[in-house]
């Protein structure tokens, strides 16, 4: 375990050092993050403008969902996207062999190799929105702590889904755009899940578990969550993580390295 910590520290400090070379990029990222946020707010505003409400979600409550969504976006831009690009390249060039030979879990190596601070503005702004809306609603500090749990489960589920998609590069090789697919589907998480028609809701809960990623953490924050949903998000996170590990082992059996 200790060894993993040390490796992790090493990976991330080098990654940050490398990214700091391009400080201008960070400014660009911050600007696009603000732009994206303004757009999302405007999109939400269009619904509430005429007095319509998503069933049981006031404007501030819907803002919290948006904040959680923004944080998820930031999380995936920081931790997931840069690593996925690496996996694809390694499969394509055959350098995955070297990773497999290393004395640590290859899934760990591949998912933590780099991080990019590009997503940090999103994480930050998401948090700002949540705290702003939370304060207006008078959310207690304890609730924030409670919401951290489903949020962490959400991150974990997202990671597992993403890693499974990444593992398909063993078969398809060129899959830079799976991240786009995942992002496209995550877009649905901008709004509370009750805003969708019934068929969509089933799809978003059971097939692509977007409901667990944003709506459940927001409900936890508002103190409206039912224990069943909370438990569901825990079970989902653990199950997806385990499936992603199996899937990776399964995919590796199909990996024919560059030289063999």
């Amino acid at each position: 375990m200790e060894r993993y910590w040390q490796v992790l520290k090493l990976f991330w400090s080098t990654a940050i050092a490398a990214e700091l070379e391009y400080r201008l990029n960070f400014v660009v990222a911050a600007f696009s993050s603000i732009g994206g946020l303004a757009g999302s707010l405007f999109g939400l505003f269009l619904f509430y403008r005429t007095g319509y409400e998503f069933e049981g979600w006031s404007w501030e409550e819907a803002l919290i969902v948006l904040g959680v969504f923004t944080m998820l976006q930031g999380f995936s831009a920081t931790f997931l996207a840069p690593n996925l690009n690496k996996i694809v390249r390694q499969v394509q060039e055959g350098t995955l062999d070297f990773v497999l030979l290393k004395p640590i879990s290859s899934q760990f190596w591949l998912s933590t190799r780099t991080l990019s601070p590009w997503g940090l503005p999103d994480l930050l702004f998401g948090l700002v929105i949540i705290v702003y809306a939370g304060t207006r609603l008078g959310v207690s500090p304890l609730a924030y702590g409670l919401a951290l749990l489903p949020l962490a489960f959400g991150f974990l589920s997202l990671y597992s889904l993403w890693f499974m998609l990444g593992a398909t590069s063993i078969w398809f090789v060129k899959i830079y755009n799976v991240t786009e697919v995942l992002r496209g589907l995550l877009e649905a998480g901008r709004f509370p899940v009750v805003a969708y028609p019934f068929a969509y809701r089933v799809f978003l809960t059971f097939i692509i578990p977007v409901a667990f990623l944003t709506t459940v953490p927001a409900q936890a924050l508002l103190g409206q969550v039912e224990w069943g949903w909370l438990g569901g998000s825990l079970v989902l996170a653990i199950a997806l993580l385990q499936i992603s590990r199996w899937f990776w082992g399964f995919a590796l059996r199909f990996y024919t390295s560059a030289s063999s």
Partner: protein, 252 residues
């Protein structure tokens, strides 16, 4: 050239499928607006919303452009040089690969739209012949405009290392101002008035409305597309000339 690129695109079917799936954005908004319009007071009724977003999905699929990424890579990696020696302008290769890809994409689009009509059978309708014809013309025009604009951004690769950053900025505005997340009819009046002066609504909102036969000023739309196209074309050629000098100046 078209058939070569068609064969090339069909090779990467899995990738293409992923691309089509990643454009399902409008279908998500379809669901949410269809539900909202049943409960709230909005400018359009729910059937119109459903049709609108289905058409938006179609228009977006047919006008997707990615030339800036390819062009940037060619410039940064110096791969542009051999193409410059060929007797045709390198832009045609990009243009044909885009057009060919449209055809490889059609079956996927058909399946997804079919699924949506299964979900909302009452939204099924048959556009009249003139609407269909004008709609296709409008889509083609929107595609050309989008291509010119993005290619112009791509030309900045001669000076900047990340020309795609410009496109990404542009894309942020594009999503919201082109009518992809909601028809412009539900925007506040002042915002809509400003947006109509920008090129954005003519990339999605305008072709979609033509196909749907909702009241639109055909002439005004096409004039706007042509004007913006000319503006960007002029900038484009100017940058291209300047850029080539810059490029050869780098010792390529």
């Amino acid at each position: 050239m078209l058939s070569v690129y068609y064969a090339y695109m069909v090779e990467y079917r899995a990738e293409l499928l992923f691309w089509v799936l990643s454009g399902t954005f409008p279908l998500i908004f379809l669901g949410i607006w269809a539900k909202a319009s049943q409960g709230g007071q909005f400018a359009l009724d729910s059937i119109t919303f459903i049709r609108y977003f289905l058409v938006v999905f179609l228009v977006r699929q047919l006008t997707v452009v990615w030339v800036v990424w390819e062009f940037e890579r060619e410039v940064v990696e110096g791969k542009l040089s051999p193409f410059l020696l060929q007797p045709i302008d390198p832009v045609w290769r990009h243009l044909f690969s885009h057009v060919a890809e449209r055809f490889a994409r059609l079956p996927f689009i058909g399946v997804l739209m079919g699924l949506c009509f299964l979900l909302y059978p009452q939204a099924l309708w048959r556009p009249s012949l003139p609407a269909l014809l004008w709609g296709l013309v409008a889509i083609a025009a929107a595609f050309c405009l989008r291509f010119i604009i993005q290619y112009t951004f791509g030309l900045f690769a001669f000076w900047l290392e990340r020309a795609t950053a410009i496109e990404q900025f542009w894309y942020l505005v594009y999503i919201f101002a082109s009518g992809m997340i909601a028809p412009l009819d539900v925007f506040p009046d002042a915002v809509r008035a400003v947006i109509l002066w920008t090129p954005f609504p003519y990339l999605i909102y305008f072709p979609a409305n033509v196909l749907l036969e909702r009241e639109t000023h055909l002439l005004q739309g096409f004039v706007a597309i042509a004007l913006w196209g000319l503006i960007f074309f002029a900038i484009n050629r100017w940058l291209w000339k300047r850029g080539l000098r810059q490029y050869s100046g780098m010792g390529a």
